[in-house]
Each structure stands twice: as structure tokens, then as C-alpha cells.
Symmetry: C2
Subunit: 407 residues, 2 copies
């Protein structure tokens, strides 16, 4: 009504209603999940399943506005993850984290692919399902370790470092897979090109960003109002995301690279605080939209259950094996492996990409989504069992949890 005579007069109220329902459901079920000792993201996924067409039918996962908001949510999420990722610290954790990451990507991918092929699925479908098994959720892992007061343990440092590295590898695989499911050639050459494009884009964006961002945002901070920094930072994140897309990589790779470029600057904390507030609204929309795309009826299908069960087994075994890979590391290797179990946003993005491109059918999509949800669900109680809840003496547990959530 306001801006465009072309837009239907009643288009806005239903969107506002849908957004309000999604936010309320996501926050309520998210809080409930936390009360039950589970990460909030699990609650948001369940809220989506609940609101989706196969149960309450309140949210239509095909609505264009929901698609747009969810994409903005995932771009903001990866920008945030980039803002949190301390490259120097990641380098220091070094060898062990790198080995855990590489083995933790390779083994689940190979096992997942093999399982799917053994179940008679075609090649591309099996690649997508395998790829969805690769990336550990940094956010969930960090949150769980923080809740247990174990963030500063050496095992936790390895887990966090590896989770960040396998996220980057996962994003690169995603770019390759997105190209493949988009009909691009899957030859070794094409994979190499896409990998080089993704790596090259991240490296170039970080290098250029670390040269350009500090003077520009230093100037902005001197001449402008402090509340302008976060929207400007977000705008730059969006621009770099679009650049990455234009360069043949993925929006989220650009957003992550932009976050990395901002991370060491004096204004990263200010930008992150502002972007996090936006994330509190947009990111749950992504998880609810993912949950809403799950057709619960497919879970009654024995083949879906069989594949889902095998994928869960492979997801757990693959990461536990990875935990034992740095054989020289003196700490408790089982803790590392279990800490790597939760899959999250990147796994779901794989599933969505595959579903949207028609490579995954509703059944395999449900299996993969179930794998993400179950691994997310498994890790907190297992880690609690292994480590025991130890209220950290050096910092307030609630405070640090809040910190990681905010971060």
C-alpha cells in the first residue's frame, strides 16, 4: 500500500502475521529446548516442523518472503560466525585441530556416500547426502562446551578449532555441490576450479578486507554516529556475499569472508552486537523454514528410517574416529570426537540446496534433516556424561553462555 501501487494491498499483513508466529514459536520452543538441556536451535527446528504443512500448516515453506528472510538469516549467521572466528587462534591450535577437521570431513563423507550407494541411491544424491555429514556446527559445539564450563579445556580448543576448519571445508564442498546440483560438470577439474574459487575468494576478501576495513571503519567511527557502524558493517557483509555469488561461489562464503575481514578490527564487537540483534530475528526464520520443509509423513517410511538411521550411525562414528586421528595429542580423544558430533546450519544448507535443486527427494531430505537433528540432540547429554557438569569458577556459567550466544 505504501510504496508500490503494483504490490497487492493485502500482501503485508499476512507476512507480518507469519513473521510474528514464527518468532513466537521459535522463541518458545527454543526456550523449552534449553530448559530440557538442549540447544535452542533444536527447538527452532522442531517449531518449524510443528508449523509446517505436514502438521499445523501455518507456515508455507514455499512463500517467497520466507525464502528471502531465511536467506538473509543464513547470510547474517555466517557473517556472525566469521566475526567470531579468530584466524590467529585457529592457527595456534594447529596440527591436532587440522587433522581432526580433515579426517572428520573425509570419513563421514566417504561413509555417508557408501551407505547411500549401498542403499541403491544414485551418485549425485549420495554425494549431497555425504556432504551434509561433513560440517560440525561451531555455534552448537561452542554453546554446549560453554554451558558445561569447559571452554578452556585443551580438548575443547581442538574441537572448536576443528569445527571452524571443517566449516570452511564444508562451505567449499557446498560450493562444489551447489555447482554440481545446478547441472555444472562434476569433473575433477571443475571441483578444483570451484575449490580454488572458494578458497581464493575467502583469501582475497580477507586480505583486501583487512587492508581496507580498518581505515574506512576508523573514519566512519570518528565522523559518524556509533549506531551507524553495525548497519554499515552488515551492508558490507551483504555486498561481499553478492560479490562471492557473482564470482561463482556462494552467498554464505562471501558473508563468512566478510566476517573474517572485520574480525580483528576495533569495531568488530560493535558490529557484531548490532548484527546479532538482527540475527535474533532473521536466523530463527531460517531454522523454522528448514523445519517446515520436513514432511513428517516421510518418517513413517521404513526406507527413510533405515537410511536416516544409517546416516546417524555414520555421522557419529565418522566424527568419533576423527577425534582419535591426532594420535600424538595427550588429551581425552573421545571427548574431542563426541564434541564434533553435532551437525548444524551447514548440513541443513546442504539438504536444502539438494531439495531445492530436485536432487534430494522428500524422503532423503527428511533422512538428512533427521540426522542433523539427532546429532544435535545427542551431543549435549553425551558430553555432559563424559565431562560432568562443572560450574566454572572463573566465570559465571550463565554469563559465558550468554556471551557465546551473543557472540
Amino acid at each position: 500500500m505504501l510504496i508500490s501501487p503494483a504490490a497487492p494491498a493485502d500482501a503485508v499483513p499476512p507476512v507480518l502475521l507469519g513473521l510474528a508466529i514464527i518468532l513466537i514459536a521459535a522463541k518458545l520452543v527454543g526456550e523449552l529446548a534449553e530448559r530440557l538441556g538442549q540447544p535452542a536451535v533444536l527447538g527452532e527446528l522442531l517449531a518449524g516442523v510443528l508449523l509446517g504443512p505436514s502438521l499445523l500448516a501455518v507456515v508455507d515453506p514455499g512463500a517467497p518472503w520466507l525464502h528471502l528472510f531465511a536467506e538473509i538469516g543464513v547470510v547474517i549467521l555466517l557473517f556472525q560466525i566469521g566475526l567470531e572466528t579468530d584466524l590467529q587462534r585457529m592457527m595456534r591450535v594447529g596440527g591436532a585441530a587440522f587433522v581432526v577437521a580433515v579426517v572428520g570431513v573425509a570419513v563421514p563423507f566417504a561413509l555417508g556416500y557408501a551407505v547411500c550407494r549401498a542403499m541403491g541411491l544414485p551418485d549425485l544424491e549420495s554425494v549431497v547426502a555425504g556432504a551434509a555429514l561433513t560440517a560440525t556446527s561451531v555455534g552448537i559445539t561452542a554453546r554446549v562446551l560453554s554451558d558445561l564450563g569447559r571452554l578452556q579445556d585443551p580438548e575443547s580448543q581442538v574441537v572448536l578449532g576443528a569445527a571452524v576448519i571443517d566449516d570452511v571445508i564444508g562451505l567449499i564442498i557446498l560450493a562444489v555441490v551447489a555447482r554440481a546440483v545446478g547441472g555444472g560438470a562434476v569433473s575433477a577439474g571443475a571441483i578444483a576450479v570451484t575449490t580454488a574459487a572458494a578458497f581464493g575468494f575467502v583469501i582475497a576478501a580477507v586480505l583486501v578486507g583487512r587492508l581496507v576495513v580498518p581505515p574506512v571503519f576508523g573514519l566512519l567511527a570518528r565522523i559518524g554516529r556509533p549506531e551507524s557502524l553495525a548497519p554499515m558493517g552488515l551492508a558490507v557483509g551483504l555486498l561481499v556475499a553478492v560479490l562471492a555469488h557473482a564470482a561463482g561461489s556462494a552467498l554464505i562464503i562471501g558473508a563468512f569472508a566478510a566476517g573474517l575481514a572485520f574480525q580483528p578490527t576495533a569495531h568488530a564487537a560493535t558490529i557484531e552486537r548490532g548484527v546479532t540483534r538482527l540475527g535474533h530475528v532473521f536466523v530463527p526464520v531460517f531454522f523454522v523454514a528448514v523445519g517446515a520443509a520436513v514432511d513428517v509423513h516421510t518418517l513413517g517410511n521404513s526406507r527413510v528410517l533405515a537410511i536416516g538411521g544409517l546416516l546417524i550411525l555414520v555421522a557419529v562414528v565418522g566424527k568419533v574416529v576423527a577425534g582419535f586421528a591426532p594420535f600424538w595429542f595427550p588429551g581425552r580423544k573421545l571427548v574431542i570426537g563426541v564434541g564434533m558430533i553435532p551437525r548444524g546450519e551447514v548440513g541443513l544448507i546442504f539438504a536444502q540446496t539438494g531439495l531445492a535443486a530436485g536432487v534430494l527427494d522428500a524422503g532423503l531430505f527428511a533422512s538428512v534433516t533427521a540426522m542433523v537433528m539427532v546429532t544435535t540432540f545427542l551431543a549435549p547429554p553425551l558430553l555432559k556424561l563424559l565431562l560432568g557438569a562443572r560450574p566454572s569458577s572463573s566465570r559465571n556459567a550463565g554469563g559465558s553462555a550468554e556471551l557465546v550466544t551473543e557472540a
Copy 2:
């Protein structure tokens, strides 16, 4: 690509690009305006004019996503204004503010209508143009007075009280006008019904809200994470906005009422901080979209310039007269009148409503928008001239400006 196979694969990157450009332009020109002693909103409007189809043609004001984001922006803005509006304090400023508000609505409306009719414009068009002259911008006025260190002067108290009251009256007139331009009857009975609906909705929402909100949000604050409060508050604001729309009133009336309902609660400040961060992204989109809808070529039209000039004259005279209306008030009445001059968001919403409904043509729309921009532009230097810049001793000027901007 992610959520819906139905959505075109390339729809998201252009939206992210457009959003990034709008944010960067709005913040840069906004900061520039502030450097020149003008309110940031003026810069955002100018950024819109610059990006719009008649100059750089970067932003298409007819794009559905822009329409949606702008509407969300104005809903958030009115929710924020409601959150800032202290009903009790407004009551205390009392008589003088009320008289200034009523006279300041009636005189500009009557003069604006008369001018348009005299220029040969039809009845409904003249009503919309007159209505756009009524509401003072609370945000701009508060910001200017704060920048001058005069927020606590008695004249400023009257100006702020009157600006809030005439905003409410303006919103009710908007509901009436929206009904009229929507093809509804403009009989006295229909106006009475719409006024009663708007008043009734605000009163009911505030009463119910003030009963329901404190226990519900008290419970949420006890059981939940603090960062969930702002999204939940926003969700409730969106729901009440949709309710107001469904009840035959306007989205923004509902959003304002929801803000009023939250205002006295313990969590208003937390909700406002979170919502303000969202506002930093969405609200500039609204002002840029409004600016982009201005066709600068119409400003070369002598009739548009004549009507625009007359509207500006009437807008200034009407509010200055209103400043002298509370004859018993001992303060400087010219300061009150000049403080009431800047029109803002509500005036622009009138213009947009009229344009979208086809009641205003591009020429009259440009005249009204020019009136809003010029009055916004005039007030800061005039007030500075009348009052002199006095760096407040009790509070840091930058700090209080930031406070009002944040508030």
C-alpha cells in the same frame, strides 16, 4: 534456492545488493546531513531521491521486497515511538500541549485544504494534502532540542507533549483518510466510526496490554534468555499491528498501541534496545523508499512549485499560530511554534498512502514530500537562531543525542 523451489534462483542476490546500497547511501548521506547540522532523516530522504528512478535509477520504488521492508520499517518506527511515549508525562504537560496539538492539527489542515481547493484541486486530493500537514515529527523535534541542550526547557516540554498528541491525532486522521482513499464513504458518520475504531483500538490495546504484558513478559524474563525478549516484543508488536489492520484501523496504529502497552513495563528498555537495532536497518529503508518515489522532474513544473511553496508557507504559519494558542503559557511562544514545524514520518505516510491509492498524482506527491523535507530542513537552523547552541552542562551533548536517537 534454499527454501522454495518455486522462488527464482537469482531473486535473493539482487535484493541483498539493493539492501546494501540503500543502507550505505542512507548512512553516508545521513551522516553528511548531521555534519551540516541537519537531522539524519533528511539525509536518508535525499539518499532516496538520489537513488530513485529519476536520478541514478538504482532503486526501484515499486519492487515488492522494498515495499515489504519499508512497511516493516514504518511499523518498527511506530512501535519504537509508542515505546518512547510516556502517557503519564504527556498528561502532566497537560493543557498547553493539548491546545498546541489541536490548533496545530486544525489550522494547517484547514489552510492546506483551502490552498489546494483554491489551486483547483479536487476535494479528496485536498483532504490528503491537508492531512499530511498535521503531524509534527516527534523524533526530529526531540533530536533537535536534545542537540541544542534544551530538552528540559518548559517550551520544549510543551513541544514534545504536543508533538506526541498530534502524532496520535495524525494517526487517527490517517486511518480516516486511508478509508476514504480506499473508496470508503467519507460521510461524517464514517469518519466518526473510523475515529472511534482508532481511538477504541488504541485504548483497548493499551488497557489489555498493560494487564497482560507485565505478567507474560515477567514470566518470559524469568524462564528465558534475555535476548529473546526483544524478538518476542517485536512479534507482539507485529501481531497487534495485524489485529489493528483486521479491525479496520492501520498497521501503524496497532504498532504504536503495542509500544504504548509495553512502555511502562520493566522490560520496555530491553525490548526497545533490540528493536532499535532492527530499526537502524529497516527504518532507513522506509525513508529511502519515500525519497526514491519522488520524481525530481516534477519539481521543474511551476504548478508543483507553486503548490509546494504554498504548502510550506501554510505548514510553517499553521504551527507558529499553534504555538501562540496557549495564551496563558508564560514561556516563549515563538519557540514552541518553531519547534512544531518539522513534519516527518506521518506526513510522508500520508503522501505515500495517497500516491499508492492513486489519489495524489506525481506532482502533488512531490509538493507534499518537498513540504516535509523543507520543514524538516528549516526547524534546526531556526531553533538554533532562537535559542542559541548551549552545550548542556548536566549531560554530554553527544550522549544525550545518542540517547534520543537510541530512544
